[in-house]
Symmetry: C2
Subunit: 304 residues, 2 copies
């Protein structure tokens, strides 16, 4: 058995989320999870038994990842080399992902047997993209399902002021959506960074007409971890401050209430604009320094 | 009857091209044309008879448009106002495009009855995006179907030198692919502009790992018109010069041969990297200056 950490990307629009879909969920939505795609691919690498992946950071249907991570234990047949070489494993995985899938493995590395992609993560960074001045229907086609379209103007300075409410350590119960995991996970989180900055549209340098009035903004978040849907609910609160429909004091009162059912709570921003950007680990947790380079590494020779 | 010009965008990956698909083509590929999407939407605006659109610039399956154009004649029922207001028509069209479609109308304007989207066009600009240093399988997911992945390094200076072969007026028979239209369209075209410039990946500012070795380049073209697949074949020739697999003299010899079956002709670059960027008209051809503002303009009130 050899444990690996992989880094992978996806556009979440066509998936029910990153985690494996139940049969009921597939029947209901017709969508599988990103985990299903990767586990199906691992099956093709000729393992001795089927391989389950442990994703570090859950994302919902429609949420994207420029970089998510997962670990898994690969057990090879007795007559095969035990380990794949890192680059070779990455190439092999990508070569088996069907062309229709919006999933890409961007790195693979062998890690110690006790490494855990979720528990060892020391920070997670997210990005939320907003297009101001258009509706979903009038968004450029290059931005469809890639950002949140907001028709009205936003008071960005007021939004920047509101980010300060969330920075640092708070009980985020009021910004948590219901989930099976709520009962045993702490709602107390420490947010290290929230920044709002002007941004660009995808390919906007090449727009010749029709969209010049649209302004792009992005909100960046970093924390060791977040409660379920915390970022989308914080973005929704920030945008309501930007629109003038909520005051700073109202948002503060919601946060301090620790009450998920507070009457002034904000709805959840759409998944389209949210991107998991990076999951970080301590190098010492990843290091194999006491393990010798395996002589039995196998080069995957996919049928490219 | 009122004639309109529309500007529209699309990602071409899921379409058989911009023009209407035949029943056979739909049965074969499962893909419709962008024209089908727009004509289906026009049907919903309650016309008196079905409306056919005349697209200015044909694009193949997989080729994108940041801005293509088409004209059509809308005939309203006798009890309805004859004309839509321009902005209202644009909004109405977008409101009826199904969410799954990668098509967006970005402008609509009433034009003179004799205006023709294809024949009145005075220039067409295209963009071709290239990612250097990766294979299709290792392209970032944000670039999937959005650019041409080239593994080997390119000699950009040699490619820039090669663009000069194509500038100006030439018989482009050697760079034309077979099409039903070939027999009655001239292969002599004048290229006003070809430029190769460094570029960016979509969202590359937010990549945290895995893709830092990829370089992006874009090639821009402008001409009144092009022969069938001329740009993708010119790009292929430029890239073979960049790779060192064709010399400048060989490309010159192919061009001067005017021979589509020349043994040193280049293959066709993939459609993924090609974007129609702009179609220009003379303002006087578009102008309604002798027509009074119609009192009977109707505001489309779509069910948003």
């Amino acid at each position: 058995m050899v444990r690996y950490l992989i880094h992978f990307q996806y556009f979440g629009t066509n998936y029910c989320g990153v985690v494996k879909a139940s049969k009921n969920a597939i029947a209901r939505s017709g969508k599988i999870g990103v985990q299903d795609v990767i586990e199906n691919v691992l099956e093709k690498l000729n393992p001795y038994r089927s391989t389950k992946i442990y994703v570090s950071s859950r994302t919902d249907s429609g949420v994207h990842a420029l970089c998510n991570t997962a670990h898994f234990d690969l057990v090879r047949p007795p007559n095969k080399p035990e380990a794949f070489r890192d680059e070779s494993l990455c190439l092999g995985l990508n070569s088996f992902i069907p062309r229709r899938e919006q999933v890409r493995v961007i790195g693979a590395r062998r890690v110690p047997d006790k490494f855990h992609a979720q528990h060892n993560a020391i920070s997670r960074s997210y990005l939320y993209r907003i297009a101001v001045g258009c509706t979903y229907r009038s968004l450029p086609v290059t931005e469809k399902d890639r950002c949140w379209a907001i028709k009205s103007e936003l008071n960005i300075e007021a939004m920047k002021e509101a980010t300060k409410l969330f920075l640092g350590t708070h009980d985020f119960s009021a910004f948590r959506s219901a989930s099976k995991e709520n009962s045993f996970k702490s709602p107390i989180k420490t947010i290290d960074r929230i920044e709002i900055a002007p941004s660009h549209g995808l390919l906007d340098r090449h727009w010749s007409r029709g969209h010049s009035h649209i302004q792009f903004w992005e909100v960046s978040f970093r924390s060791r971890s977040f409660v379920y849907r915390q970022i989308r609910r914080m973005v929704s609160a920030l945008v309501s401050v930007g629109k003038g429909s909520r005051s700073l004091e109202e948002v503060r009162a919601v946060l301090e209430s620790c009450d998920n059912a507070h009457p002034k709570t904000s709805p959840t921003a759409p998944p389209d604009g949210l991107y998991l950007k990076e999951v970080l680990y301590n190098e010492e947790d990843l290091s194999l320094e006491n393990m010798q380079e395996s002589e039995s590494s196998e080069i995957v020779r996919p049928n490219l």
